[in-house]
């Protein structure tokens, strides 16, 4: 056990050295590191609890996606039947389905054939399963269309993908450093923005759907009349103005003149006459043409700019707007105008996002945590080292050396994995220091026992290693199982603890099996001891 070939010793030392060196990029300034090749740039990322920042988990409103999909199915059904000139009645949503009754029994087969075109085979991995987007059933002349569950799931998945892109654009507008935006699970988006003092604005930007439409105001009824039961014309709806507009009610046509998707640019600015903040925008060519046509037809009548079902403003069209650009004035503050233009530039979310979890740590607390974590690490490590040297003398120094290399290797592996270091993660490292010396304690105590059993120094050391290593492996695997489970269930700081603790166990076992042996083996070869000094 004690004899090791020079090759093996060299390999062990080299491995330990290389792993330790992976930690090096953490100790050079970022400006220097940026000029290194990318493989050498891997480094530990400080968790949000240490550097301060916001962790926000958003959920895509799957029900809204479902509703929207059903509305689209209803509209498609109407269009298909109209185009095919098939007389129908009672087209409506019922539960999760769309129902329609075909007037002439002879038309049912024809209608079915046409409606089947609405059911597309689903793409992606589902393509091979033959799954389709719509289930169609008939009962006499009643046809029932239902979006299949895979189709809804697929649509939610798309909505999450689109949301991620849009959220990315919005967050980048805030000018923050290294925001992290990623999908989480089937219908969630995780946003992590480091170093943010106040997340209120970020949350407002994330929580707004920003669906902007240009529509006409319905002047056939007054808002008061529309409030009566059945008072709202079927092609219109009653919407409230924004708070800045006094929250007045408007009757707005459902038909959209120009959708917000046709905007190509939006910028905050000031109205040249009144001096109040505005948002000026430009349409793409399609939008410009439609807007020009609509304003030409409706001179003298009010139209409405509707954002997320709230009327921002409802100006009267004084003259046709044919240039493809315009401005929105809605009694904004400068910041509101700024945020609205960010939202319009980034585009609308396909479905509303709800904040389901938020964890924000201010930079002050983060700095405190770093300082306290470091202090605890130094004191804890120093105490352990002093105790080990007091107990085992020279062998205590060996143990401390092994633990120091062990910790350096933990940092190396963390860097290699680009892992996140959190405050509980630091606690995990300190705990590893406490537990890592256990492997040395096991070996040394075993050596003591073997000496007492009457073995010679070298034979006792050899037997001590042989017998202790099996125990070290057994005892560390149980702890590792706990760390692995924790990694699996944990998020954020807790996962940071599982990472350092788990890596710590692996490096501890590696150190016990290799480095500690090399150190002792070299010492034995050098000193040829007659007695073991422990």
């Amino acid at each position: 056990m004690l004899y090791m070939s020079p090759m093996k010793i060299a390999a062990i030392l080299l491995t330990a050295f290389v792993v330790c060196m992976f930690a090096a990029p953490n100790f050079v300034p970022e400006s220097v590191r940026d000029r290194w090749p990318t493989w050498a740039q891997r480094h530990i990322v400080l968790g949000l609890d240490l550097q301060g920042g916001s962790h926000i988990l958003l959920q895509v409103d799957a029900n809204a996606v479902r509703r929207e999909k059903q509305q689209a199915l209803l509209d498609d059904t109407r269009r298909v039947l109209r185009d095919a000139r098939i007389a129908y009645t009672g087209l409506a949503q019922r539960g999760n389905s769309v129902e329609v009754r075909i007037r002439e029994p002879n038309d049912v087969q024809n209608a079915l054939a046409k409606l089947r075109d609405l059911s597309q085979p689903l793409g992606g991995i589902l393509a091979t399963t033959g799954a389709r987007s719509v289930d169609i059933t008939t009962n006499g002349n009643l046809i029932q269309l239902t979006s299949t569950e895979p189709a809804v799931i697929e649509r939610v998945r798309q909505a999450v993908d689109q949301s991620i892109q849009i959220v990315e654009r919005r967050v980048n507008e805030l000018g923050t450093v290294e925001p992290l935006i990623q999908r989480q699970g089937a219908d969630r988006v995780l946003v992590q923005v480091p170093g943010l003092q106040d997340p209120t604005r970020l949350k407002a930007l994330l929580g707004t759907t920003a669906k902007l439409d240009f529509r006409m105001v319905d002047t056939s009824v007054t808002p008061e009349q529309a409030q009566q039961p059945g008072g709202t014309p079927p092609e219109s709806e009653l919407l409230r103005g924004t708070r800045a507009e006094g929250g007045a009610l408007y009757v707005i046509r459902k038909q959209v003149l120009v959708p917000g998707a046709d905007l190509t640019d939006a910028q905050p600015g000031f109205d040249q006459r009144t001096g109040e903040p505005i948002v000026s925008f430009r349409f793409n060519s399609g939008g410009a043409r439609r807007f020009a046509q609509a304003t030409q037809e409706n001179v003298g009548r009010p139209f409405a700019i509707v954002l997320d079902n709230e009327v921002i403003s409802a100006p009267v069209i004084r003259e046709p707007i044919i240039g493809g650009s315009g401005q929105i004035s809605g009694s904004f503050t400068l910041e509101q105008a700024n945020d609205l233009s960010i939202l319009l530039r980034a585009g609308a979310l396909p479905a509303p996002l709800t904040i389901i979890e938020e964890r924000t740590v201010g930079p002050g607390l983060g700095q405190d945590s770093i300082e306290k974590g470091m202090l605890a690490s130094y004191i804890g490590s120093a105490a352990v080292v002093i105790f080990m040297i007091a107990t085992y003398g020279l062998f205590g120094i060996f143990a401390s050396l092994a633990v120091a290399i062990n910790v350096a290797m933990i940092f190396g592996v963390l860097s290699l994995l680009n892992a996140t270091l959190t405050l509980p993660g630091i606690a995990g490292i300190v705990l590893t220091v406490g537990i890592a010396v256990d492997s040395n304690v096991l070996i040394y105590e075993r050596i003591r026992e073997e000496v007492r059993a009457g073995r010679s120094a070298i034979s006792a050391i050899d037997a001590g290693f042989t017998r202790a290593l099996a125990t070290i492996l057994d005892s560390n695997i149980t702890t590792f199982i706990a760390a692995a489970v924790l990694f699996y269930i944990g998020t954020g700081p807790v996962r940071g603890f599982a990472v350092t603790f788990g890596i710590g166990i692996i490096t501890t076992v590696f150190t016990a099996f290799t480095l500690t042996r090399v150190i002792v083996a070299l010492w034995v070869r050098w000193q040829r001891p007659k007695v073991v000094p422990i």
Partner: protein
């Protein structure tokens, strides 16, 4: 240089007979912990019940006026809320119970609270957990405990005989029960970090138990005729020095974290210190080892003579 010897060579403590005291003590404490859990309850943190947690600090080290803050927040009618000094007179921890009305309602509550408290304070931490996430986290936490215990049980079963696996599991469930009792008495926030602390205690305590079990297994192979209680005692005594020294090093590390690690991980380290320092080693020696007596370990040993210096492992 004279080296420190915490445990003299060749101790002959009768740990196994001590079970007549340790078993009743543990039984009483475990029952007490369970009763506490059901009467006093756990102080569930927002991870598991949802709600809002805000840590604020008065600027320039001024002492916070808790009564005034309480009045300000009370006027908002946000339901149940608590204020607590946190690590110093200028730091205050505010907890607001989960608001009815889903995830959006929680955000509204935070905005209201923040607007009422004003921007004169430093907002050191704001955590909002909605009902959906808290339900999931609770399920994950419970799942984690079950997974960890099952995984470790299976590993021990493979590595040792089933009696050892069962003994270790009973002993370590006992640790968890006592620690939960401790959290109930101290009303330490029970959240995701508590689960981390519990799993660490589980891992550490098992680590300790496995070291002793390993030795018991070794002795069982070596001494075929030694009475089992004597053998268990020998195993505990011959590993005693290691148990004590490792215990000291882990305690030193944990105390450093507890004293200097700051408020943010105070609950986490307090729970771990209790579990590891007070319970872990006690369990391994005085519960896990004697338990094997009742589980019928070593009854099927051959009747060969004792083999003094056979290698412990093939």
């Amino acid at each position: 240089m004279r080296l420190l010897r915490l445990v003299p060579d060749d101790t002959r403590f009768d740990f196994i007979r001590f079970r007549r005291i340790s078993f009743p003590i543990s039984a009483v404490l475990s029952v007490f912990a369970v009763v506490l859990y059901f009467t006093h309850g756990l102080n569930y943190g927002i991870d598991f019940v949802g709600g809002t947690l805000i840590e604020v600090q008065e600027k320039d080290g001024r002492a916070a006026d808790l009564a005034k803050m309480r009045a300000t927040l009370g006027a908002l009618e946000l339901g149940e809320f608590q204020l607590q000094e946190f690590g110093g007179p200028s730091n205050v921890l505010i907890r607001i119970a989960q608001q009815p009305g889903g995830d959006d309602a929680q955000q509204v509550a935070v905005q209201k609270a923040r607007a009422a408290l004003g921007e004169e304070l430093e907002y050191r931490r704001v955590e909002v957990v909605g009902p959906r996430v808290s339900t999931e986290l609770l399920a994950y936490g419970a799942l984690g405990m079950v997974l960890a215990i099952t995984g470790i049980l299976i590993y021990l079963w493979f590595r040792f005989e089933w009696q050892f696996a069962l003994g270790a599991t009973i002993a370590n469930l006992h640790d968890i029960v006592l620690t939960i009792g401790f959290m109930s008495i101290m009303q330490i926030d029970f959240d995701l970090t508590s689960i981390a602390a519990l799993l660490t205690i589980l891992g550490y305590s098992l680590n300790d138990t496995v070291v002793i079990y390993d030795r018991i297994r070794e002795l069982l192979r070596r001494y075929k005729k030694m009475p089992i209680d004597e053998l268990l005692n020998l195993a505990c005594n011959s590993t005693l020095s290691r148990s004590v020294i490792t215990h000291v090093t882990v305690t030193l590390a944990l105390l450093a974290l507890l004293i200097f690690g700051g408020q943010a991980i105070h609950g986490f380290t307090a729970v771990m210190t209790f579990g590891v320092v007070l319970v872990g080693s006690y369990t391994s020696i005085l519960i896990a080892a004697p338990l094997l007596l009742y589980l019928g370990v070593g009854q099927n040993r051959g009747s060969d003579d004792d083999v003094e210096d056979k290698p412990s492992r093939p």
